[in-house]
């Protein structure tokens, strides 16, 4: 039941604020692309996911993005969402080395191909932000 009440609008507005603060323009882009095909899906992502779940204080935003990246990596076929959430991960304070290490760690449990694919999306996002190369994460310089 589309909640067009005042309370529903409040949740939507709060959600849009949270979404934009984490995901920026790229996150807003997905919502806009959905507007003429499934306005309710767009509304639920904003009002429910970002308006109700994300703002809960029980888990830091940084940790939420770590979980989000792990789930998207494991699912596979989520390159569009990964690109947006990798940007969000940087925004909420995850460092590039932490992100690529998290993907390496995920490989233990979801296998190499999922980790490779997510890492190549990270390469694209980090490259656009001038964050390459990422250090090896073990105190040595990058490169194999």
């Amino acid at each position: 039941m589309s909640d067009t009440s005042d309370a529903g609008q409040q949740r939507f507005d709060r959600g849009m604020g949270v979404l934009e603060s984490i995901l920026g323009e790229s996150g807003r882009g997905i919502i806009d692309r959905l507007a003429d095909i499934s306005p309710e899906l767009a509304r639920q992502i904003v009002a429910w996911a970002f308006g109700e779940v994300y703002p809960r204080p029980a888990l830091a935003l940084r940790d939420r993005q770590l979980v989000t990246l792990a789930v998207l990596t494991t699912l596979g076929g989520t390159e569009t969402e990964l690109e947006v959430h990798l940007q969000g991960a940087l925004t909420v304070g995850l460092r590039p080395e932490e992100i690529v290490e998290a993907l390496l760690h995920a490989a233990i449990y979801c296998g190499m191909p999922r980790a490779i694919n997510a890492t190549l999306v990270a390469k694209k996002v980090f490259g656009e932000r001038g964050l390459l190369p990422v250090a090896a994460g073990d105190g040595t310089a990058g490169g194999s």
Copy 2:
């Protein structure tokens, strides 16, 4: 064992008729693309899936396409097949609002990214048919 008997040919012919009536040219296209790499896979899709399973009277074609869309959405990485089956879904009588609502509903169980991806494929298919915007499905006008 490739069934080249008369009965096998009958099943293939029946299947091709069913496939073309539901999926039209786009469905035929996948079969054609498989012909020189795996003629038996092409043949089984036609003779078995469309020749044996689809025509069974126990489930309406409209319901079959609803199930097909839900499975393809959940699997992920099936954009090619989704595009074909979204066209089929419209052909057998599912309305655009029902389809996008089914994808929203699926999101409860398979998560937002799978639903977003399938919805964006629907946007492409519906757009090509002049079916955008889709109404919000709750009695209000489209748009968030």
Copy 3:
């Protein structure tokens, strides 16, 4: 942000009504089991999934359960949820022959093992309700 406002309570109450009318005691059971470990997950299932998405008029409850069964079958490892939603599927009017045929149909797209597993859960649920054997769905008597 846990929505403890009047509007939030309304959504929860509406959701619990919808949940109980579709899933009955078994659905309520899952919510109860979550209460002491993740009250917010329980609340979101009720207030969001059943309070906001399920009641939307754009898709019939019968079709929602068909989609739900297809998603759960495809995901795999969801026996607990399947058992509850198979009961819900019967409650909202899907006939046993339609359900097992939907699972056979799903097998085309998600493979035989997922369909077999879901069908064996259906056997348990239907058996408890005295609905076995299910007819072959093609006008002939049951049995292979």
Copy 4:
């Protein structure tokens, strides 16, 4: 459309012969369990999978079972099917060391948990056949 023609019966009979020769009593058990809930699913597994696909000469039965084990391992949540197909794998000539090595190899691509779960099913099946311990597969004795 249930194929109750002579050709359909031939395919079923051929399939049952193939199924029993590979999977033995345990494979027959799954078919029997499906008989009163979805006789058509049972029939399609036998007539299509085992009557049409398995007997094709293009791939050896041993290789088919290797593929089957890899797919079931990757899917997860398929313990029932894995148990049956592990027995089939032994029957068609895969050695225990090859099977456990295939599961280790699969871990590179589908992750450790899926490989662990399938390996523990293999432990059950091999244990019942007195095939434990399995050698380390590298020329050294078993044990870590």
Copy 5:
């Protein structure tokens, strides 16, 4: 190639130390169960996953367990591993409220059933440790 060199033994010993410090007896139990069926899988989990990947300083152990829980939840059918890693998550400092909130957060991306299943495993683990009920994570008391 089973690495039975001194370096290989060092990696194994380091890995077993890390594994035991995080996962305790329950983690050791999985390794032991694998010993007579796939000693090399057991060895690789210890020497590679825990001996090489886990000890890398680029990601905190707490964050690794958060990623592990998210991947296992998304995969589904991993109850055995989840039980072990939920204990590990508590050991490395994730609080119960953080864990259940992470599973709620994951539900946005992988769907409710996967989150429910993982949360019910958490209920078992937390219950055995006297950690129930878990607070609602929003400043209010537990219970819906």
Copy 6:
């Protein structure tokens, strides 16, 4: 812990030799693309997967590639990896007819869409090598 010891270098060198002998230039390409984003992921693929697991004598390289193709097909969303490993499969002696038959066989267990997608990647790889059309695999000429 990045293993920069002599033993670690040996494993890396051995792995790179195995990787290049199976996957050739295309496999090396993935490693190179990872170098500036996640040098450790690149190193682990080489040193662990190809340096430790692949060379073990317990399973023939041909069988390893068969397993790899089955896992990648089942996962879905792995087109990049499939392309590389299809080339590797040909290199280690799997015949084109065996490969497409393995994908047809996999369809029984993971469904038609995954098999279709992998087969279309095979069409691309085989086409570049002048290996089309592939024979039907049943003694008859190609084509449906």
